[in-house]
């Protein structure tokens, strides 16, 4: 499975980086695929409502009404028809890339299984809706699509009469057929929308609108395409003739030639196998499930920061019933918790300055506690020497700690960069464990745990609790959001930062690193 993911990740990573050179991070289309999908869905809806005004459901009238839109009212209805078509294609491209990308990043397991499964269901419905749309045009392509899809469906012994007999010869088709199809073409997307709503139910603060600039660019490109290359019909359907040459939509219909040529037993078996694999993939091995976060009520004052920061809604604040003076306490849902540690990073009691026995935050990961993290930091600090010593805190979803090879650097791997309480940076510098601290995480705007990177930036900037203390010399802190494949970038940044830190040795900033140990208040934010 990892090999398949790696194969997908490589080209996607290259494309992300390429687009990252021209788009701001929050505009990168590959970081906004889901939101772009929603955007195209609304474009399809608005354009669809407009062309429905002119659409006629009669056998001959269906084609004629679309010809009217395309030729007579090309400036509005024709453009709307083209937008409807091209936005549908763009939607499919976004959904396929979205699925491939989430899979390649491993974002389909654990707490994300629900979004994965509902996403697959939504994709199937959107495909069905799109294919039913091709029938409505009732041109040669519609005839081809209708015949191939009904012949494929007829392989299943669920229809009394072969549905394909509706297209046997001229006169076989009934006007009511198009009424049924238009009903399906409206009902199925609405059902898909309901499934998409479910898709987002377990996503905290979902992004369903792309940045305005990206939305505007995407819309204008589709509009320009509609004007330059309007969607046109391919001649009226004629059941007395084989469609022959058809301009197939290879985005929607790439499998139709296979459905047409291979036996139904083969195509249905393959379809079922792919469907089962996609649905069960979240529970297929290798399973790597981290232990859920654990609350230590003795150190918890119910401040709600862990609840606010959890990207998976795995923490709920509930009433506290012991004799504590605090009224609320966090309750962790083990089934939703992925063990990212962001909650521990947000806890004001995650304070490395505390005595060894006292370092037990209000919430922590049982298999990677803050005490373990402090021990590891102190251990790696002993391995670095010379001018420009650096400690790198790296997210396990970014560049691996073992890949950090720079001479005067040592790396500590975190579950997520958001697991790091800012006080650890202060701890490293004030104890002179290193001359500088570098945080390496996922790509900007693309945190594996969605908010780890954002919360970290906010904490460092003093905009989110717990803050990085003002006394920390910011020159000795650097962030590099380089992502998993950014080894070369990180190496270059490390070399430059190490050199910079070496040059700071004689500057006043060094005085801070040599400052005497300060007794910290456990509730320090």
């Amino acid at each position: 499975m990892d090999a398949i993911r790696g194969l997908l990740r490589f080209p996607l990573d290259r494309l992300e980086r390429l687009l990252g050179t021209v788009f701001p991070a929050h505009w990168n289309p590959l970081f906004n695929l889901g939101a772009l999908g929603f955007f195209f869905y609304w474009v399809i809806t608005v354009s669809g409502i407009y062309i429905y005004i002119f659409f006629d459901t009669g056998i001959h009238e269906a084609y004629q009404s679309i010809e009217y839109m395309t030729n007579e009212q090309w400036y509005l209805a024709g453009v709307m028809r083209s937008l409807h078509r091209y936005a549908s294609d763009a939607l499919i491209i976004c959904l396929l890339l979205h699925m491939a990308r989430e899979f390649s990043l491993g974002r389909y397991r654990g707490a994300r299984w629900f979004s994965w499964v509902t996403g697959i269901a939504a994709m199937m419905l959107i495909y069905m809706a799109g294919i039913s749309g091709y029938w409505l045009v009732w041109d040669k392509l519609a005839q081809y699509v209708a015949i191939v899809s009904t012949e494929w469906l007829d392989w299943l012994p669920i229809f009394g009469e072969p549905v394909a007999r509706n297209f046997l010869a001229p006169g076989s088709l009934d006007n009511r057929f198009f009424t049924l199809m238009i009903f399906l073409h409206i009902a199925v997307p609405l059902f898909a929308l309901a499934v998409l709503w479910m898709h987002l139910q377990r996503v905290v603060k979902p992004v369903i609108n792309p940045p305005r600039g990206l939305a505007a660019g995407s819309f204008l490109s589709m509009l320009a395409l509609s004007l330059v290359l309007p969607a046109v019909s391919q001649g009226p359907a004629d059941l007395a003739r084989v469609p022959g040459n058809v301009g197939l939509d290879w985005i929607y219909l790439p499998l139709f030639p296979l459905l047409e040529r291979l036996p139904g037993s083969v195509t249905w078996s393959a379809a079922m196998a792919v469907f089962l694999i996609l649905i069960t993939i979240p529970v297929l091995p290798p399973m790597k499930r981290s232990a859920a976060a654990v609350v230590d009520l003795g150190n918890c004052n119910g401040c709600t920061r862990c609840d606010l920061d959890c990207p998976y809604e795995a923490i709920a604040m509930v009433e506290r019933k012991d004799d504590s003076p605090f009224s609320m306490m966090p309750q962790v849902s083990a089934s939703l918790c992925v063990g990212c540690g962001i909650c521990a990073g947000s806890c004001p009691t995650s304070m490395p300055f505390r005595r060894r026995a006292d370092l037990s935050p209000g919430i922590d990961l049982p298999d990677f506690t803050m005490a373990m993290l402090r021990d590891e930091v102190e251990a790696v600090a002993k391995r670095i020497s010379g001018p420009g010593r650096l400690i790198v805190f790296s997210c396990q979803h970014g560049v691996r700690a073992s890949d950090v090879k720079h001479g005067s650097c040592a790396a500590v791997s975190l579950r997520c960069i958001g697991q790091l309480p800012p006080s650890f940076i202060d701890y490293v510098l004030s104890r002179d464990l290193a001359d500088g601290v570098l945080l390496a995480g996922c790509k900007e705007n693309d945190c594996y745990n969605r908010f780890g990177l954002r919360w970290t930036e906010d904490r460092l900037a003093g905009q989110r609790d717990p803050h990085l203390r003002a006394r920390v010399d910011r020159r000795r802190l650097k962030t590099v959001w380089c992502g998993a494949g950014g080894n070369a970038w990180l190496d270059a940044e490390l070399a430059a930062f190490s050199q910079e830190m070496a040059s700071l040795e004689s500057l006043p900033g060094k005085a801070h690193a040599q400052a005497p140990r300060v007794k910290e208040d456990a509730a320090h934010g």
């Binding site: 091209y86 072969p162 007999r165 046997l168 084989v242 469609p243 985005i251 030639p257």
Partner: protein, 167 residues
């Protein structure tokens, strides 16, 4: 990178995305069948004769029925399978005994087959038996057909229309 270059890069991306979408939306053309071929579809939905003929109920049998279900005749539900043969230019392309649909085998027998042939003149023979007989056919059609390239001809069957019909 200078802003102007970034905007230019974004424009290139949008143009490429639109061009790719526009191209794949219609091209490359797909040729479903060779231009010189024609298509014949053999398809029907036909209920064969019943395995047992209807018979009149005796007075005693009628009296034994609940009052609301009393009727003069009774018919068995089960139908014979439909046996069909289809040949083009003397070559047998399809022969099958089609079982009636339904758990009680009382529904119609159905088929839907497609054959591609060279355009031109062809002798088409379709035979069907639905009476349960062991040999011979109840319906038969032999016809010389001239098929144009790309033509799609349907061979249907309707007993009330006298047998096979061409559409």
């Amino acid at each position: 990178m200078a802003d102007i270059m970034r905007y230019a890069g974004q424009a290139v991306f949008y143009v490429c995305a639109a061009a790719l979408t526009g191209y794949l939306s219609f091209r490359p053309l797909y040729q479903q069948t060779h231009p010189g071929l024609a298509q014949i579809k053999l398809s029907f939905s036909h209920g064969a004769q019943r395995v047992e003929d209807c018979r009149r109920l005796t007075t005693k049998e009628i009296a034994a029925l609940p009052p609301s279900e009393r009727r003069p005749n009774t018919c068995s539900r089960e139908r014979h399978p439909v046996y069909v043969e289809f040949s083009i230019d003397g070559e047998l392309l399809y022969s099958k005994s089609l079982e009636p649909a339904g758990l009680s085998k009382d529904g119609p027998s159905r088929t839907y087959q497609k054959f591609l042939v060279e355009a031109g003149v062809h002798a088409v023979t379709a035979r069907l038996r639905d009476s349960g007989r062991e040999a011979g056919f109840d319906y038969e059609m032999e016809q010389q057909l001239t098929l144009a390239p790309g033509q799609s001809l349907a061979v249907d069957f309707r007993s009330e229309a006298g047998g096979f019909i061409l559409k």
